[in-house]
């Protein structure tokens, strides 16, 4: 098992080098994803990881072509960014409403060497359990890659809460038992439903990138000790929780510190920060 510590959920929207090469990424950051932070050199991303005590980060694309006529990083751009840094792990995105989505996914994994699939039903505006998306899930399962789903509430303008409800993902967990599914943001405000899915289906996982009020420390304490007892995560979901920050909506350091503050055992924290990601990715190096 790898000892790498990983942030499983980041959006590389602030990277200046990429905006210099692709000026449309600035508008994607400001208007589609809706983030106001200053653009930063890639070095800041690396330093963010250092400040959080992490080694690597998953960076994701989002293909919202049908819903918005836009991508927030496309697969080629994610691959290009990953070529600039050995600390980044690229995840592809495809638009399930497009018939060639499975083929695009296969190309992203086999040719661009991306390592997983990111889907955001709330932004891409599709029902996760819709049969139209099944060919994409079939392809992901065949490729042996994890699927990171946005779940729960989204801040992005125009995104629909409805498509973030955890029970919409149950048919996928049932019909694709060998597909590793990660529901982001603890699927807040439906944390209880998301935990129920994890308890029932071992191929369902949660990432910790949840912050909707207060501060990271108090929010994770609320969600992971009060909404759900800490012991449930510690005892029953050891292999199904992954650290994610959702950077740049939150700094990586703040979410990492908040998760450590919850006070899980050291061995469980090693799984959250790296071991579980390594298993889903088939290794991290």
């Amino acid at each position: 098992m790898s000892d790498w510590a990983v942030d499983f959920h980041t959006h590389p929207l602030l990277v200046r080098e990429m905006i210099a090469r692709h000026p449309d990424l600035a508008e994607a950051a400001r208007k589609t994803f809706y983030i106001g932070n200053n653009f930063q050199p890639l070095e800041t991303f690396h330093l963010e990881l250092d400040a959080a005590g992490l080694d690597k980060a998953v960076v994701v694309a989002v293909d919202a072509t049908t819903a918005l006529g836009k991508t927030v990083y496309n697969n080629e751009q994610v691959a290009e960014l990953c070529s600039l840094s050995d600390r980044l792990i690229g995840f592809a995105s495809v638009d399930p409403n497009q018939k060639d989505a499975p083929a695009k996914l296969e190309a992203a994994i086999t040719q661009l060497k991306l390592r997983g699939l990111k889907l955001d039903p709330a932004m891409q505006r599709f029902r996760p359990s819709d049969a139209a998306a099944y060919p994409v899930y079939e392809k992901a399962q065949a490729l042996g890659i994890p699927v990171l789903f946005h779940a729960g509430m989204s801040w992005a303008p125009g995104s629909r809460l409805e498509y973030g409800q955890p029970l919409l993902f149950e048919p996928i967990a049932v019909d694709f038992p060998k597909l590793n599914i990660v529901l982001a943001h603890l699927a807040w405000p439906w944390v209880t439903e998301a935990v129920a899915l994890c308890l029932k289906y071992p191929n369902v996982h949660l990432d910790t990138s949840a912050l909707y009020f207060d501060n990271p420390r108090d929010f994770l304490r609320h969600a992971m000790t009060q909404v759900i007892p800490k012991s449930v995560f510690e005892n029953s979901l050891r292999r199904q929780i992954l650290f994610g920050s959702n950077y740049p909506r939150v700094e990586i350091k703040n979410m990492a510190n908040a998760l450590r503050w919850v006070g899980f055992s050291d061995d469980f924290q090693k799984l959250i920060f790296g071991g579980n990601a390594a298993r889903l990715l088939g290794g991290i190096a």
Binding site: F33, Y34, N37, E43, L47, A51, D214, N215, P216
Partner: protein
């Protein structure tokens, strides 16, 4: 009369950090041709600051530790809370760094030195610091010289 404004970028590497920028200020003064006047320095970021103090590592740590005690990033549990902990619709994210803004206010966001015969007038132990309260980040600092040329 010389009035010149120079922008520099300071890359902080930690969450909180004091970065000595005295040499960069002196370089701007030298390059400007200013002989007698003042140099003004300001950070454009509200979770960073500018301070003048003795340039030794132990004091740097004490300054940061004291400001963190005065305005902690997260208040002691149950003691009080920050009003700033809410969704900022203009920013697309939560603002939960009130403590860092407060540090910036307590420490200040600008400094100045007289300039005499092209040299900064400062105490022998005084150094000018950019102070990061919420890094790591690439930050912008403006340095303006004002006065008579050579």
């Amino acid at each position: 009369m010389i009035v010149k404004l120079q922008k520099i970028e300071v890359q902080s590497r930690k969450d909180m950090e004091m970065i000595d920028i005295t040499d960069q200020i002196e370089r701007v003064v030298l390059d400007s041709g200013l002989k007698n006047g003042v140099v003004l320095v300001m950070t454009t970021h509200t979770s960073s600051g500018l301070l003048v103090t003795e340039g030794i590592e132990c004091l740097e740590r004490d300054v940061l530790a004291h400001l963190e005690r005065l305005a902690p990033k997260d208040p002691p549990v149950g003691a009080y809370h920050y009003w700033h902990n809410r969704y900022l619709d203009y920013d697309g994210r939560l603002g939960f760094n009130a403590g860092d803004h407060l540090k910036s206010i307590l420490g200040g966001v600008n400094c100045f030195f007289p300039v005499e015969n092209g040299t900064l007038v400062r105490g022998s132990r005084q150094r000018a610091y950019f102070v990061e309260y919420d890094g790591p980040l690439a930050r912008t600092v403006f340095i303006q010289v004002l006065g008579e040329g050579a």
